[in-house]
């Protein structure tokens, strides 16, 4: 299978200048404002997007320097297979966050509930649609027993 090359479509600006101390998921970043600065070439693709209250962002974890197949997640104390975690050290370090859309002004999107480090290259924007995206899992693996608090837990240096 051939490698795939993507060109970032813009950049995500947030108050987080480093990963340390960041919320570990968008739900832990409630109320935190950020901004997407889209490249002007893609402006027409934003048409109709302002009608959605929530967006799925796919982005490149540009600070991640190595793949690890086993990691100890922020919410646990036990090493886990990386695909069973949301750590950035996946073989392809693609981040996924659902954020609130506040406003679009030309090619700038004001967003809220961000858990993304400043300067992150953005790969894609999709509308968040419960009819497409919501599931009711019966099993949540190691997370069922993880006692850590998602809202309160903050990132440390382990994945940098």
């Amino acid at each position: 299978m051939e490698p795939v090359t993507y060109k970032p479509i813009g950049r995500i600006e947030t108050p987080y200048t480093s990963r340390e101390g960041m919320p570990i998921q968008a739900k832990g970043g409630e109320g935190i404002r950020g901004r997407i600065v889209l490249l002007p070439a893609y402006a027409k693709g934003l048409q109709d997007l302002g009608g959605f209250s929530h967006l799925i962002l796919l982005y490149h974890f540009h600070l991640t320097q190595d793949t690890r197949l086993v990691v100890t997640p922020f919410l646990d104390t036990v090493p886990r297979g990386v695909f069973a975690t949301r750590s950035p050290n996946h073989p392809n370090p693609i981040g996924l966050s659902t954020v609130r859309l506040i406003e679009i002004r030309e090619t700038v999107l004001e967003i809220e509930d961000v858990d993304i480090v400043n300067g992150t290259p953005l790969l894609d924007i999709k509308p968040y649609v419960p009819a497409f995206d919501h599931r009711q899992p019966e099993r949540l693996g190691w997370l069922e027993k993880a006692g850590a608090d998602l809202q309160q837990t903050r990132a440390d240096k382990r994945f940098i």
Copy 2:
């Protein structure tokens, strides 16, 4: 911003040999079986994944040949900005589907509820976790008025 290159971690096998006639979202593919064949090099990353009932798959829309900034979605009759749709013709054609995990045998993952064409290169696997991924949007843009039925609508040739 520099281009980003990812190497597929495996391949997705499904009953859909072409995009035409496929369900347009994983929820329209309920009960349809598929299989992930992961490259053996990533086997250790699967540890602990079997405990989760639902997985988020990120994959490359390898059949998509062109970017379109405005598209008419399957569920609508009006052209929309591509970022406001889930069409494959985004500037970076990255697919996102949440599927049910049935069983893992070594590096083969049996999955269900697939809306993915056979042979699709897989980029990433993440556990689906409602505490991370679930939102309750107030606004769904053009989809609020789209009358088409998600379960019944099937893809045609428009995005190939």
